[in-house]
Assembly symmetry: C3
């Protein structure tokens, strides 16, 4: 039997408060209390849902939700209160803000934190137990350093950035404002650089540059962002990394790019802004990728993708280990592969006729 | 020169004790002391071995082991004491239990642990130095929380579960009884969810649900199990995850499923019970996989695998990035690929004749 | 706005000191002070650069560097001081040593470390705050144990090895001298071993062996090196692992082998010395790989690579999930794949003519 969890439940929120937060008109009583958000088909009384995809429309008439966020077109079929929005998914995202526990700093340094006297900690920052903060570290107002985090010499963290427990940031790395770094992530470990010496041995190239993250960056759990050898590894403003993403040394990720779980980017890469890189995708060293490009999951990118390539390809590339092509070509090739042996056998017998 | 390690050696165990533990008949002296388990060809005097695979049978007559676990059929060729078992590999596994150091809790909270007064810690639980335990956490009897672990608000851990050092569990997540979570694993970090706003920017969707692990779950080192957005991420009873596995938000893994190292499962997936998923395999969002299905290493699953598919395919799927097929088809296609260019050239010249 | 970082800048180094460190002749003033190393095209006054690849030669005449490391052949075109070397890249690597912060131990145990009285800590070792050191641990002279590391029973660490923050090493594992282990890495968690019991359930095989690292091994951040079941997992002298590499139980890696980010090696593998394994490559259990073999990124190795194979293939293998072939064959096949559907269509119409 499972232990009964004393769940850290959020307080209920009135429909009026939600409507006000979203700035959307409400059909229904502003006093109705909402305790949670749920999908249309799972929602119960006291919960709010949203209709953002045609696939879910069949669930609307039968929903037991107390309110639904939906477009004007669906209002008539809604059996309960509704919030009318031109962008229900976006407004669902904004509604989640009202039900999430606060990430606000509770100002103060825990007595069991280890803070060097030469660190500059804003009085509004929060430092958890077991956290280690070395000389020259700068924490802005509202920064949260979770328990057992390690911030080495001269690390700088911008206002309101939250480090979850057990994050390590090596010396000299700089994190912007408004960011979220999840547990166990390591920023600024040495990039993988060696010179070959005699007899197949390797001489370490000291990694002298750092890692710089812009503002509003979110980094998932268990990521590794390596420091540059001579030039900083740079993560642009608004970049979002899923869990277990690896960024090699000296690589630069443009603003607002999204990278999914397990993707592995080698060193000296330049990824443009607003790209989307799928799970377990990989990019070999030195590649340049134009802005707005989408790389499908598990694709290995072994050549540059220029703006011209991106336009030609409809901006989406796929390809597994054989290298990227545009997505339509990839899909035809992958389908051909799935019956490759049989097709070749048939062709051989045709040809030999 | 390597430092000489003061190895934490286990105490020797008598053959009689092993026979009793396994409940198997012993040919030989029950007083013989066994100090370790070793493969047939590497075993020395004082060690026990096992014969569980025909490939190792040639090593039996020459083994220097003091005892061997084997089937009735092999007893005659055994040059030493033997334990006769219908399932030697299973009984080898059970024998390892006698040589492993205890995972039993040494009851008590280390004075250098940071435990919130509103946490409920069973008096039989063990909490290591540097561990941080927030308000509302519930630890059952026999739970071990290793050094420098971080258990956030309202986390609940069932009886006898062991957390190795440096594990982080985010608020509200629940772990069943009898589990093992290896070092550096992060349970309950935010799933990767964003709504697009203007100019290619992204709005965070707060991840309001949690992660729930059943009983007797083992999670390897460096895994990331992300919390759900609206519905919990669920890991069924008896599931075993290797090191560095990623489970996306809202994904549900059925009981007794095994997932190997580096496998990366996106969000909103349902994997049936007793599946086996190979190393570095990946599954894209929203996929459903029937019970008992085996996915080969590095396969990317991009479509549902129904019970009917599984029956047709002999329950085993493979496919790299091109998508899964049944294993036999995959093997023929992969073999065809390994000479693809040459085959196409030959076919072209045949066709053009 | 980013916080201004109080960067932990290294002291400037004179050209004379660099020439002496490298043992190379200097054309220019030995008193010139150098503050950093930079690429030829980015270097500014007061910085040193190097010319190690023909592709960069065009940047030499216009460089603003104060000195360049280059071969005899390029001295005439150098607009500034030069250091003449037969191996500029190697000498660049050696120059980085002069600009890197020291990894030398600052002898002593931090009062907030938790050290068992039965641990043997050399008086020249450094132990950081929050580090946990259990009974029987042996630390050699010059060892650095970073903050919040966890060294379980009887772990032994050779002279001058540096553990960055948050490293966990399970009981009985042994690390050689002169090594570097980056943050968040876990050495010695249980290998993934289970015996099947009734009804598709799994019985844990206790992992009774350990992990042994040789001398001068570097392990990146977030790696997982699992302990062996009956035989140790062994990492040879001089091996370098990138971030997020996984090594399964009982696998043996030969000396001076390099493994890139995200590579996932299963158990019971033997990799020869001086191999190079690319990012996200994978090797299935039990494989043997000859010395000096190169495995391309994302290749899955599913069969042994013998010395004879390696010679035939020019020692380099590639292949994605379809299994490895020699690199030239792979490249032709991958290229053929990228137009596979179109080629097959054309062949079909030719054949049916």
């Amino acid at each position: 039997m499972k232990p009964a969890a004393a769940k850290s439940s959020p307080a209920p929120v009135s429909l009026g408060r939600i409507a006000e937060h979203l700035g959307r008109p409400l059909n229904g009583s502003p006093d109705t209390l909402i305790t949670a958000i749920a999908p249309l088909d799972a929602a119960r009384s006291g919960q709010i849902s949203f209709l953002a995809s045609a696939a879910y429309r069949t669930h609307l008439p039968g929903t037991r939700a107390s309110a639904v966020i939906l477009t004007e077109a669906d209002v008539q079929k809604c059996p309960c209160a509704s919030l009318v929005s031109p962008a229900p998914y976006h407004d669902y995202a904004r509604t989640t803000e009202l039900f999430a526990p606060s990430r606000r700093a509770v100002a103060g340094i825990h007595p069991a934190a280890h803070v060097h006297p030469d660190a500059e900690i804003d009085p509004g920052a929060e430092v958890g137990p077991g956290a280690v903060i070395e000389a020259g570290v700068h924490l802005g107002p509202g920064v949260v350093v979770g328990p057992n985090c390690n911030l080495m010499q001269a690390v700088a963290i911008g206002a309101d950035t939250v480090l979850h427990p057990g994050v390590t940031i090596y010396r000299d790395c700089r994190i912007g404002a408004g960011g979220i770094i999840h547990a166990g992530t390591v920023i600024g470990a040495d990039g993988f650089g060696f010179a070959i010496t005699g007899q197949g041995r390797h001489l370490k190239i000291e990694q002298l540059a750092a890692v710089v993250l812009g503002d509003f960056v979110e980094v998932g759990a268990g990521c590794t962002l390596d420091r540059g050898a001579l030039q900083d590894t740079v993560i642009g403003d608004g970049v979002k990394l899923d869990s277990r993403v690896h960024i090699g040394h000296g690589t630069r990720i443009g603003p607002h790019t999204l990278i999914a779980g397990g993707a592995t980017l080698a060193g000296s890469i330049e990824v443009g802004e607003r790209c989307r890189i799928g799970g377990l995708a990989s990019i070999v060293p030195g590649i340049q990728i134009a802005p707005g490009v989408e790389i499908a999951p598990t694709t290995m990118v072994t050549g540059d993708i220029t703006e011209a390539d991106a336009e030609r390809a409809g901006r989406c590339f796929a390809g597994g280990a054989t290298g990227h092509t545009d997505r339509a070509t990839w899909r035809r090739n992958a389908a051909a592969f799935r019956s490759l042996a049989a097709t070749l056998r048939r062709l051989r017998s045709l040809a030999e006729d």
